[in-house]
């Protein structure tokens, strides 16, 4: 019971942190920071609200599988996007 309330407090703290961080001009770092905080919030929710901290390894693997496969999709398709020469990006040209 207490643990749930503590988790909730931590989540609200992280929320205010990420909103505050968005006002600081981090430009290139703003995305990694906001995503890092979002991942921390997700970890908290999954560990305590969804009781993964007490779950069997099988359940934990099932929980991680979705995110791992999403990571496969993102990383391998960015092997295409990341290396597109700017002119080749849509609407640019290098005739």
């Amino acid at each position: 019971m207490r643990k749930l309330l503590l988790t909730y407090a931590a989540l609200l703290a992280l929320l205010s942190l990420t909103v505050a961080a968005s006002f600081i001009p981090l430009d290139t770092w703003s995305l990694p920071v906001s995503l890092g905080i979002a991942t921390a919030k997700t970890a908290l929710i999954m560990a305590f609200f969804m009781q993964l901290s007490r779950a069997s390894t099988l359940t934990r693997v099932a929980a991680a599988a979705g995110f791992l496969w999403l990571a496969i999709l993102l990383s391998l398709s960015f092997s295409d996007y990341a290396f597109r020469e700017p002119e080749n990006a849509s609407y640019h040209s290098n005739p």
């Binding site: 609200l12 929320l15 990420t18 906001s34 929710i45 305590f48 099932a62 979705g66 999709l73």
Partner: protein, 214 residues
């Protein structure tokens, strides 16, 4: 323990085997939902990579205050859901039912705020596929349209899933009213809680990507 025994469905040998199977089945379903939303996050990642500056400009158009309040509302609903799960497993069904209603109402509050946001964006002419003239003066209007298309698609899909979650919880509320054994309601609330927390996790990622790209 006798009545717990007849709660075991015929294809299972023992109670914990059934609980294991139900939980595993739910988690695998959540993995499919992660990948379902993952396709849209992939589209977002690709288009943000192509035109980062337009996405920052477009993100400024969104109502950050409403977004933040909504995130807080959803986190609170996750808390009440977790508490409901905690109480039903502690045997206190009345508290669990009350917390369940609280969770549903928080979910509806979220949908109301979201509806208000959509209306506000409609009045600013920012819905590309509804407003006939998409008002956008900061240059590259078509890329901004792409941002808003993705915004409405992803937050709309999330709102739909949240609405389905509310319906699911309302059904749970009515089914658990009877005084019968606690085993079945415990399992039902445990699985609905997992679904609800998943919907909250999706919003945890949607919020920074759309509202905080400033």
């Amino acid at each position: 323990m006798k009545e717990a025994q007849n709660a075991v469905r015929m294809q299972f040998e023992a109670l914990d085997q059934q609980k294991q199977a139900d939980t595993l089945g739910m988690w695998i379903f959540l993995a499919t939902e992660v990948l379902f939303f993952g396709g849209m996050f992939m589209a977002y990642a690709a288009y943000r990579w192509f035109n980062p500056d337009v996405f920052v400009l477009a993100s400024k158009e969104l109502n950050l205050l409403a977004g933040s309040i909504n995130t807080a509302v959803l986190l609170s609903s996750s808390l009440t859901m977790a508490l409901a799960d905690h109480f039903i497993h502690a045997g206190n069904k009345t508290n669990a039912q009350r917390l369940l209603t609280l969770t549903i109402s928080l979910g509806l509050v979220f949908l109301l705020i979201k509806g208000y946001e959509y209306h506000e964006e409609y009045s600013h002419g920012l819905i590309p596929f509804i407003n006939d003239q998409f008002q956008w003066e900061h240059g590259q209007a078509d890329r901004a349209e792409l941002f808003f298309n993705l915004y409405f698609l992803m937050t709309g899909m999330h709102a739909l899933h949240l609405f389905l979650g509310c319906c699911l919880l309302t059904v749970m509320l009515f089914i658990n009213r009877g005084r019968r054994t606690l085993f079945r309601p415990q399992m039902r609330i445990k699985l609905s809680a997992l679904y609800w927390h998943f919907v909250d996790v999706v919003w945890v990622f949607l919020f920074p990507l759309f509202y905080l790209a400033r």
